[in-house]
Symmetry: D2
Subunit: 338 residues, 4 copies
């Protein structure tokens, strides 16, 4: 029998991508999609690409509506998920949260970067960080998954093997990331209008982006080292995709071969990681997919390693990774529908 799934916050881009992936998933059925301001509208009214594919209608959330569901996805802005999750957890539901509310264990850090207090701190210990390549076993039995941030995913996947194997210095790490506009969500603002974004580039939240502490805390918890990163996101005129260029300082004897071995050690059997060695990844090669492509190069002249990684921000950076986590939680093949 198919697993029953509902989605709280299904009207944004991550929610729509989630619906798209789940509709082609042979083992699950989406029972309900909740969206406060769009309640009463058909999903294909907001997203006409779904015409003739689904009859789902957005509904106002009520706890009674999810009692028969096996899993609840939450794709709400940070600060809102924590209003739903405690009751769901207490009711025994399994939950995957695509937002940032349960990614940082340190509530002081959360408040500093998210600019509001955390109202469900005692549930943080339930949260399992949903990076399948690094946390597969914990994910399988988790009740609550904190699905990683999009930039974070693109940064952690190349960095974690190097940190874990002790190949790089813990300071001076630079992560310069480029993101398509869909990463900012389905929002109405002059800044994100076509006219302002097209033929333009701008860095934003330089040094204060909320993904910075997430990158650092996961590098510590999974990589085993306290590191500092300089993370600068840039908005570029593409719809989907993240391109991260990373610059790190290798320790003493590190060579291209050492790096190669470290990456292969962790990713040889990871179905969604493609190692390019000295080749350079391109966003278009991963668009609409759950892949993360990683290339790298020793740059001895200046004592650095240069790494590049690419993902689709709505797939491996959000909904795709969430479904990958769901597949693990239900014991499905990890790649189903992806």
């Amino acid at each position: 029998m198919k697993k029953h799934i509902s989605i709280i916050g299904g009207s944004g881009y991550s929610g729509a991508e989630l619906i798209k992936i789940l509709l082609r998933h042979p083992e699950v059925e989406v029972t309900t999609v909740f969206a406060h301001s769009s309640a009463g509208k058909r999903v294909d009214e907001l997203y006409p690409q779904f015409r003739s594919r689904t009859n789902l209608t957005y509904e106002e959330y009520a706890p009674g509506k999810v009692v028969n569901d096996d899993l609840v996805f939450i794709a709400l802005p940070s600060g809102e998920a924590m209003n739903y999750i405690p009751a769901l957890i207490d009711a025994g539901k399994r939950v995957i949260d695509l937002g940032g509310d349960f990614r940082l264990q340190d509530t002081a850090l959360y408040t500093k970067y998210y600019k509001h207090a955390h109202s469900a701190a005692k549930y943080l210990s339930k949260a399992v960080y949903g990076l399948p390549e690094w946390n597969r076993e914990q994910i399988q039995s988790a009740q609550l998954i904190a699905n990683p941030g999009c930039y974070v995913t693109s940064a952690l996947l190349p960095l974690l093997p190097l940190v874990k194997e002790g190949l790089i210095e813990s300071t001076g790490i630079v992560i310069s990331s480029l993101s398509g506009a869909s990463g900012a969500g389905r929002s109405s603002s002059v800044e994100l209008s076509f006219t302002e974004t097209n033929e333009n580039v701008k860095a934003y939240k330089v040094g204060v982006h909320q993904h910075t502490p997430e990158i650092e805390s996961v590098l510590q918890s999974f990589g085993g080292a306290a590191v500092a990163v300089t993370f600068v996101p840039h908005l570029i005129p593409i719809t989907r995709g993240i391109y991260s260029s990373l610059f790190v300082t290798p320790k003493g004897n590190v060579t291209n071969e050492t790096i190669d071995a470290a990456l292969k050690k962790y990713y040889l059997n990871a179905p969604f990681i493609r190692l390019l060695n000295n080749a350079v990844p391109e966003i278009k090669h991963v668009q609409q997919t759950n892949y993360c492509d990683i290339g790298w190069k020793m740059y001895e002249r200046n004592g650095q390693i240069i790494l590049h990684s690419v993902i689709d921000n709505l797939v491996k950076g959000a909904a795709g990774q969430a479904v990958q986590n769901m597949n693990l939680m239900f014991g499905f093949d990890e790649t189903t529908a992806l």
Copy 2:
């Protein structure tokens, strides 16, 4: 001595383009720029491209602030200009209105297409339609200029010679126009966000766009014939520019030579019209300029003439044409600063 100019509604894209052109105009000085919601902000705070080029600050409008100005531009949304123009006209000011309030002499038509009543109907008779290639003399002595709509300019310039010379049938005219997103103004809406507009095309206001009656009424007043047009605008993912493809039915003996002669008759000395004959215009050849390029071709197999015209919607379609009108009003060379 330089002419003193002020702008009411200087915070939108047309207003900003106007400022840009006027700042390089050797014969005028912009004294004041009014913008209600941005009052108190520097122009270069809203439009950082003006940093180090101007110290102008947006101000709240007050009639006393324009008493020493020789001309007032109004670049407000339709429906707002008519609140300012009566008093300005009564005070003897010369005014160029970039919006739609004084383009239609028929207030019933205005109400039908603009969805609100006209509150300054008795000033309509003062309004001179600001299409310099067809109304040069009236413009020179006008007190109030109704600057043409962007789509309208791209449609009228190729059509007027054919209508005026009686070369085409008065029905079945098709105008299929493509516009860049800046034509929708500096606005915040999901529909105009980069993510929704990029890699997309959509027709809009099919058959009900307010430029339809403007095209028809000017074809009648300047072209001398009552004609009906089917006008369909499309939003395409470019920032600036309009591409109009026009399909008309030639009368009996019309040939390529007849068309050529008609266009040359009206435009041979028009500094901003470039006739391409059978060549096809491209938007990029007119971007950031005040040119309108026109190409055409008899298509005898289906009994039609196919015409194409291109303009930059913010220049020849708005601010550039407004400055061209100002140049005529002040007796400057028509091309100054353009």
Copy 3:
């Protein structure tokens, strides 16, 4: 047992899209992909999006290599397919040709528009026009399918019901189409470079595009009426998609309801046609899918019907429709893998 499939001309965009669709098709296996100039290269070298998805390598074509295949797709430029097809047909192979060589039954017309002679005229009678919504039965048993042109598909699907039901005049039909750059193929030319295409629009092959006679001849053969169309394609800065705006003259008593009934009569059970009635289609709603969305509106003021249709040029306009045809030929569900 899976059907064995090979592709001649697998290095262009249609070929790559075909590979992508066939790789997810549960009933077929791609045995060989031929590409002359890329012979010896892995498919994922040319198209790195296929890394880890396939080990296929481009090969030089030889007749012996397809003897065990159940069907051969040909995705070559027009003029090249006719060098392969006679021998394949003689050998009893089933063939789907994505190019233009077998779409026009009239070789004089072919020569006029394609600018070279037809070398396999006697095989034209074998060709079945692969528009599934209008030719389902013939396709099922066909040996040779001429897969429709991309623009043609977008024009025929809205027009055929109106022509077939005798609802519109046979002259004055205007088809103004906008295409993304992938429609021009994987080619190296200054004209198709990013710098020349971005922020630009241009009409091209005005009145002489080779899809004009294809539209007219199919309207006659399936629609039953000799009609003339004015077809103007435009290149716009998007990667994938075609937007067609069509303008036709309704006969006497035609109303919105008549049109609605005609379209429903032919498409109610067509899985890939979505009828929007008075709504306006958008390219992004069909991108990466095999759908054709159609909207329409009576425009009585000017005695016209305005129709809009959208497709993805590489899917419903090429590889998707080819697979739809293959599904019919093999008796699979028509929508498999689409």
Copy 4:
């Protein structure tokens, strides 16, 4: 009397931008434009935006054709300018070379990065590096100007004050730059086609780009310190513009104020440098202009300074800077026509 100017290599994008700027320059007249493969074509045939603006026709170069010119611009691919410059210098002509042939004094470095030998090494000593903000006096009297590279300009302008004032460490400097497609020139290649470039990002020439040694050698010659930089250029889907994000390590007591003071010391009176302090620059604010906007921020958490700079690659990165140099050489106002 106007100065007479000719251009060798006027058919590329830099050449066309040069023509555009020089046509509006009140003190000069373009006498001849040379272009080998386009010889005989009108300039407005290759670049229709010049229709009605100029009658210039591309010519085949011959030494006799420039004898009456006061200055010759060369906008040829690197490796070609050195075939023309020796004779021009010997003939006493003043020359501005927009290419890379005379930017590196070290021919071994030239050969390593440009992949061919230098055939005019003895003329290198004549070359003055044309970065006006750092070399104004030498430029005024120069006979031969090596106009800086586009990426180089965007990197040097923010870095030079910090290096010169000894504020940063000489290692670990990271320059991550994004460039629009026009930087690759007017060329026909699949890689630069719209379909391949749109919705994509890719790093290229990682660590081996020829602008790396140019950055390092000018930092040494003008900045007075031997430094190593890691430079990674990325191709992004915009037409014009370069966005450079720079990461450097401050020495001991450096604060935001120290940086601010250093930048103001060198640029307070530089007409084309706009210092934004902690604000973030955007490409669109400098497009079509000769400005370089620079923003910066101390990032103490990770011991770094983050700087951002933006230019238009065809203006301040090529033709605009070349005209700025010409203005200095002729004693015109530095900003004329810019």
